[in-house]
Symmetry: C2
Subunit: 226 residues, 2 copies
């Protein structure tokens, strides 16, 4: 409830960037809940990157992430539409399977828990542009997705998954600048670099890093598997 309220205020531009959000006590009183409940709502929105808080000062609306940001989970359907192209998709597979160790760990489930597994190809002007394999926690799955899995009639696969939040690191091929090329001892503009963006959250430390690899010198050990 509180989260939806705050989201609406921000989405409707009523609370601009750096706007000071009502304090925990004020929100608690306004919504007739305890301060700890209001606090948890603010904390979750902070974890999502919507708010930022400082002890002693208050809670503020965080800087919005611009399109193409590497922290934002990108919605390919929106991006394709935004460029004026036609978006479509092909559902290759829908199944309810028991999660492997890595998947269950990623979703916070115990090993072997039942999860939704889907394989979808996204098309940009009828040209395949993205292959998506997704494992979804059934307890947290959107309703339309649940219907798809129960009826096995995947007519309406939606790429959009509500307000998308999460942490994502990405890769891109860039032309190398001088300083970076010197540091890595490579020819400017030659190598295909791997760039990772990483957010570490831990009770003992928190950092946000960018890592660049010369593609020909570094290779992940894992092959195409989760």
């Amino acid at each position: 409830m509180i989260k939806r309220y705050i989201r609406a205020q921000i989405d409707n531009y009523l609370w601009p960037t750096n706007f000071q959000v009502p304090s925990e006590n004020q929100l608690a009183q306004k919504f007739a809940v305890s301060r700890m409940t209001a606090r948890r709502a603010l904390s979750e929105l902070t974890d999502e990157g919507l708010l930022a808080r400082t002890q002693g000062r208050g809670t503020f609306v965080a800087e919005p992430v611009t399109a193409g940001s590497l922290l934002e989970v990108r919605n390919i359907a929106d991006e394709i539409s935004a460029e004026g192209h036609s978006y479509s998709n092909r559902i290759l597979q829908l199944a309810q399977i028991s999660a492997s160790a890595k998947v269950s760990r990623a979703l916070g489930l115990i090993d072997g828990a039942a999860v939704y597994y889907s394989v979808v190809v996204h098309l940009d002007n009828a040209l395949p542009i993205q292959w998506e394999e997704r494992y979804t926690n059934p307890a947290l799955a959107p309703k339309y997705l649940e219907q798809n899995f129960s009826t096995q009639t995947p007519n309406a696969y939606l790429s959009r998954v509500a307000p998308l939040t999460g942490v994502e690191t990405t890769v891109e091929a860039i032309s190398v600048g001088i300083d970076l090329a010197q540091a890595l001892e490579i020819e400017p503009g030659s190598a295909c670099l791997q760039i990772w963006r990483r957010t570490i959250s831990h009770s003992d430390t928190a950092s946000f890093a960018r890592l660049v690899h010369p593609g020909n010198r570094y290779r992940l050990g894992a092959q195409l598997e989760f």
Copy 2:
């Protein structure tokens, strides 16, 4: 305290995979804290992927992530040492700067907050293999790092950052399998694919996905910037 205890039990193989961790009430009694405090410790370890919990059943030790996993935050120094190579690094820059919008958002700080900024090149047998730009929340910085920034004598840059946890998505160049190549309409073994691994956490949904792009058809809009 509780977290350290559980970590130790798991690290020393006293609690194997799928071992049922003591319940919240038992931990609270053992450490003479309230149940909510014990619960918070368990929740944080669950968020880190160390534990998995199910309502009504209990809390269990999660499947360990193998080396090279794409969810584990990789420590390049360990990987180089593990291969028998010599690891070293060059510190190019150490500074305390005010965070940009994206950085502050990633770290949960307000815009313009002071953060540590470091640029380090990691070397494998004296050959540069990784360029690292890192923004660190000062309030959560390790002590050795804090000393580096205060004294400006960066003699001991440690690549290791305590037990590394976090979410990371990675990229790799792979040879394309038949089914994936058919789906994307590309020649097997030809294209350099971009592979993203993504964990979405949100109060309304949670999923773990793998996304594969043909490198020549998809390009991130953002250039080399945070």
